[in-house]
Symmetry: C2
Subunit: 179 residues, 2 copies
């Protein structure tokens, strides 16, 4: 009888451990981008500004965007270092672009017909992580796209590197540092 | 003879000192905004991002813009502290918005009809400096507008505070922190 109890306890314990490992591993995978395994870098919203832009994705989305860089990336941008050194990370935050009726009312007096557009909500945030060994197959860059904290699909992430190919002369980075 | 030489040397020295003082004072005034005496804060381009926006000043200028804050300002924005505490400084960088034919060519494949706009050149940079005693007459805010490193006219700076009056409920700051 004692043997059976020990056996059952042992099986239950092992089952618990495996279940925990599966959950932990599952959570970890869910937080990282497919293909590249890039997670959201802590504190990226406080990184320094590289540049801003406006993208009108025909029929899909109208976005105001900002690119931020960690210290390694910012130093490389300022000094014109190419290729970007290992450890460089670029964050691209995309928000919807929405007209501001309140601002227009204020500005219409001194500047009649003026149109002010502010950010609405977050669309997504993307990252490029430089690791020349880990991501050797994609010119040293690992990519990630997150919406509401969750990474996009594998199919989406398969488009990252080929889409960045036209920026090969600038180490696959479209963004340039704003004066 | 010796006396005359000492006297001449003394006069020459004094003249040099006065000339230096006048120059130093002149440069100092030229570098500061009229009315408020605000100079360009060192290192402001490395401050953290508050938000971005797009302003179409009818018939005048089409701008992509970013607002940056020093640490006191960023903390206040994040915590919703109103009024902003003394020492808070907000920088607003304005660039021209220009279409990117290169980006459009890349994006037209996956997203036909897409329009990408990047920043062109700097239009100006503006600052709001909180000092509740020094700027008591303008709700604690000192204003400054610089173009190519030179402050705008007194007439221009007379428009700053009244134009910000509609944002009184947010301590005269139009910008809100971007998520």
């Amino acid at each position: 009888m004692k043997r059976i109890i020990f056996l059952l306890l042992g099986v239950a314990t092992l089952a618990g451990i495996f279940s925990y490992m599966a959950r932990a591993s599952g959570q970890s995978d869910e937080d990282a981008s497919p293909i590249y395994g890039v997670k959201i870098p802590a504190g990226y919203r406080d990184w320094k500004l590289i540049a801003v832009d406006h993208l009108l994705l025909a029929g899909k989305s109208d976005q105001l965007r900002a690119q931020l860089g960690n210290d390694i990336a910012i130093k490389a941008f300022k000094e014109g270092t190419l290729p970007f050194p290992d450890g460089a990370i670029i964050a691209a935050i995309h928000w919807t672009r929405v007209p501001s009726e309140a601002n227009n009312k204020v500005l219409d007096g001194p500047f009649p017909g003026t149109q002010s557009f502010l950010i609405g909500s977050r669309v997504n945030v993307q990252f490029m992580v430089k690791d020349s060994k880990k991501y050797a197959a994609t010119a040293g860059w690992g990519f990630a796209d997150f919406k509401d904290g969750k990474p996009g699909s594998e199919a989406l992430h398969q488009t990252c590197f080929p889409c960045h190919a036209p920026a090969k002369d600038h180490d696959y980075v479209f963004t340039h540092y704003a004066p």
